[in-house]
């Protein structure tokens, strides 16, 4: 019987209007990888914040190795061996690897009372090699890849003798290869007795690396199952509380005229000779590994990236898209890759976010007509089934999936004829995912031309009518729906 590292008993935490954690009890054994799953509004993030000391619980107890602890600040959490790798990495990019790993605790030379850099670098290398990494401790973190940054964060956590490591959507921004490396690291750590709480929406991943899976929904604990022997459908049902017949809807293509055509698109050093077209009611997927150029193609269509050469034709007419406003004027809508920093204004309310791209339509004159804004907001909350107490709450209080729906609603309000969608379901819970796919399906039927950029392989394979594989800035291959499987797609994407 493995020792219990962590025990959370009857935890309650509420925010104004929302019972984020409602009588939740979980436990974690040494050397175990515990998957924590649930729709984002389920309360997982809040539970983690309570463990990390970022928030204080309303009631309940937390025991670490049988001792009751009162976690009221991040330092207390750290002292008790809790380390968190957040979904949004908190590396200090302008500092070196060693400075990040030893932040606040750089080794001091006892004689000179100055920082002992030699020791810091040596110890950093030791920790990094435990993670099978040879990153130079002197290198500036800002120059590292996302995977390497994550390793630095893991190093930071474990050198402090972290016993409980919490990882929140660690593979969200990682390539397939780096994800595998991370799993090896997790395996090593768990063999050393570290208990890991692994939060991810990627079911296959969770089934691959966890020992047990705990599911939360609407703030409550639904159940915990041994991974071995559990069924994916069962876990999904627990998460969304309803039966899932089909994970991906069958989106039929209505062959119509060409809505968007791109010829000879070039951005020096990034993309080269990109040619493709998208018909009305068609979803064209752009798939490529991190850095392949997919993002840049999409961003040039939105007007964020400037193209050096090439033409864009909308409905047959050559158009130049110099900035996002241009894109909007040309009826191009979009979901940017980073909803928190690009898609939403977090301090604004639901209704203010939904109307932000359509201010001119909130009344004919200079002033905003509240009634129009309110009904606009209510309309989208209903259409997209956005879960929110009301339209006046700040969107920062909503779950990732609901936030993403608001980003979608905001752009759909402008009645786009072309929709550029980048990683639409990243960090989004199962239920919201389904709702977003349903909306994309509806848009297809209405004749919207959709460009989908996604690194979620099952998603892009199932939703797109055609998938274009992009690698090192060029389009390498095109697959029609059903023509390729996961391996083929990844293979083509990794070619030079």
């Amino acid at each position: 019987m493995k020792p219990t590292l962590l025990k959370m008993s009857n935890i309650f935490k509420s925010y104004p209007g929302v019972k984020a954690v409602n009588d939740v009890s979980i436990d974690l054994y040494a050397g175990e990888v515990l998957g924590l799953m649930g729709e984002n509004g389920a309360g997982k993030s809040t539970l983690i914040k309570l463990l990390a000391g970022a928030e204080i619980l309303d009631s309940g107890e937390i025991y670490i190795e049988e001792n009751k602890v009162n976690i009221d600040s991040p330092s207390v959490a750290q002292e008790n061996g809790i380390g968190v790798i957040h979904q949004e990495l908190i590396t200090m990019d302008t500092l070196s690897v060693a400075e990040n790993i030893f932040v606040g605790q750089l080794p001091i030379n006892k004689k000179t009372r100055l920082i002992d850099w030699k020791s810091a670098h040596k110890k950093s290398s030791e920790v990094l090699s435990l993670l099978n990494s040879n990153i130079d401790p002197k290198s500036t973190v800002g120059t590292l890849s996302i995977y390497e940054k994550q390793i630095v964060e893991v190093a930071k956590a474990i050198h402090k003798n972290t016993k409980i490591l919490i990882m929140d959507e660690p593979t969200a921004a990682l390539s397939e290869k780096d994800s595998k490396s991370l799993f090896e690291v997790i395996d090593r750590l768990s063999k050393q007795g570290v208990g890991i709480i692994y939060i991810s929406h990627r079911i296959e991943e969770v089934f691959n690396i966890t020992d047990r899976i705990t599911v939360m929904r609407d703030g409550k604990l639904i159940g915990t199952k041994l991974t071995k022997g559990a069924k994916q459908k069962e876990i999904i049902s627990m998460m969304i509380g309803r039966d899932l017949n089909e994970f991906f809807p069958e989106i039929k293509s209505e062959k119509k005229e060409v809505m968007l055509k791109v010829t000879n698109l070039n951005i020096d050093g990034i993309i080269e000779n990109i040619n493709f077209e998208v018909k009305k009611g068609e979803i064209v997927g752009l798939f490529g590994l991190v850095g392949s150029g997919c993002l840049n193609i999409a961003r040039s269509l939105i007007g964020i990236d400037e193209i050096d050469q090439g033409e864009i034709y909308i409905n047959g007419k050559e158009t130049s898209i110099k900035n996002p406003k241009n894109a909007m004027q040309n009826k191009i809508g979009f979901i940017p890759i980073d909803r928190k920093h690009e898609g939403l204004t977090l301090d604004f309310s639901v209704k203010h976010n939904l109307s932000l791209q359509s201010l001119e339509r909130l009344g004919s004159g200079f002033l905003v007509q509240e009634s129009i804004e309110n009904s606009m907001a209510e309309k989208w909350v209903k259409k997209l089934e956005i879960k929110t107490p009301n339209i006046d709450v700040q969107v920062k209080n909503l779950s990732g999936g609901n936030q993403q729906k608001i980003v979608l609603g905001k752009t759909l309000e402008t009645n786009p004829e072309i929709l550029i969608v980048i990683e639409p379901t990243r960090g989004v819970d199962v239920g919201a995912k389904m709702d977003i796919y349903k909306m994309l399906e509806k848009l297809c039927k209405e004749g919207v031309a959709i460009v989908l950029v996604s690194t979620d392989v099952p998603e892009i394979l199932s939703i797109s009518h055609r998938v274009l594989v992009v690698s090192t800035g060029k389009i390498r291959k095109e697959f029609a729906k059903g023509e390729a499987n996961q391996q083929e797609l990844l293979y083509e994407a990794s070619l030079n």
Binding site: K325, M328, H341, T345, F348, E360, F366, Q394
Partner: protein
């Protein structure tokens, strides 16, 4: 923030504090509540209040303008210098040029901050020095007397027994309140302050909006300058020294965040009134002028330090 178990909004707590000050000073000095003093108080705050109202918009957009004082000084010098020419231009033209001073400074500030992507603090700091310097140069470090009817009327005249500066202040507050809180333009100001990237991606013309705000602020500073000129009858390069501190304190006190995205005209009005009442009350109670600046600094620190407590749980409008 919670007081005695009920939630009181920032603005309400400000006006409560204002009420407290008024009551306090009515006890420390018998003259405080006299009509003469009240009028004098309100007239005085109108001068910096106009700039404060407009600065609120800039600060909500996450900008800052420290050049207000310099523009005030330069405006008084330019206007009085033009008027003191042997065959002066018509007064309406001179005053328009005066407003133009602020507009031009605002335009240059705005251009540097948007097109050149320069930091607002550094840019307007430079503008402050340059305008102040220009004022000294143009006036040859001398005071320029100006006795003129129109400016005298603007600064000292009354309509329906209300001093005109107060009317101008109320008008400014009313207009910009509608602009900020009820118009589409105002919404985009909040959006830019809260998240500039999102605002830009939502099709808002960020640079254009910011430019307009800095021009407005420049013009408001010029208006303040003209009022000051009329009140003192003299254009001096020293006019407006310290005005930026006063104005920014009032705006911050009123609940506008330095980080942008939050703030109200109502709050700024409260901030302006609190500062005005505080100074007036202290002066009337015998506190020496030189000590007032200490109070001003203290109030600024208190405003910023208590900001988090005062505005917790408030939704950005």
């Amino acid at each position: 923030m919670k007081v005695i178990g009920t939630k009181i909004t920032t603005n309400t707590s400000l006006f409560l504090f204002l009420g407290f000050l008024v009551i306090l000073f009515s006890f420390t000095s018998e003259h405080f509540l006299s009509p003469y003093n009240i009028t004098s108080l309100l007239t005085n705050i109108s001068y910096s209040g106009i700039a404060a109202i407009v600065l609120t918009l800039v600060m909500i957009s996450r900008g800052l303008d420290i050049s207000i004082g310099g523009v005030i000084g330069l405006t008084t010098v330019v206007v009085s210098a033009l008027y003191s020419q042997s065959d002066p231009l018509p007064i309406w033209l001179i005053l328009t040029i005066g407003l133009g001073v602020g507009a031009v400074v605002g335009l240059i500030n705005g251009w540097c901050i948007t097109v050149l992507d320069m930091d607002p603090i550094i840019t307007t700091l430079g503008a402050m020095a340059i305008t102040r310097g220009l004022a000294y140069v143009i006036s040859d470090s001398q005071s320029i007397l100006m006795f003129e009817d129109t400016t005298d009327f603007i600064s000292n005249g009354v309509i329906f027994n209300i001093p005109i500066p107060i009317i101008l202040f109320m008008l400014t507050a009313l207009i910009f309140s509608i602009v900020l809180h009820k118009s589409k333009f105002g919404r985009s100001i909040y959006a830019i302050g809260a998240n500039e990237v999102s605002a830009s991606l939502s099709g808002i013309s960020v640079n254009k909006t910011k430019m307009i705000l800095y021009v407005f602020t420049g013009i408001a500073a010029s208006v303040s300058g003209i009022i000051l000129l009329g009140q003192t009858s003299v254009g001096m390069p020293q006019h407006g020294i310290g005005a930026e501190l006063e104005v920014i304190t009032a705006v911050l006190l009123g609940g506008t965040a330095l980080s942008g995205g939050k703030g109200t005209i109502y709050g700024t009005i409260a901030g302006v009134l609190i500062l005005g009442v505080l100074f007036n009350g202290l002066t009337i109670s015998g506190v020496r002028y030189v000590h007032l600046q200490i109070f001003q600094g203290l109030l600024l620190l208190v405003a910023v330090a208590t900001y988090e407590i005062r505005t917790r749980n408030e939704v950005a409008r």
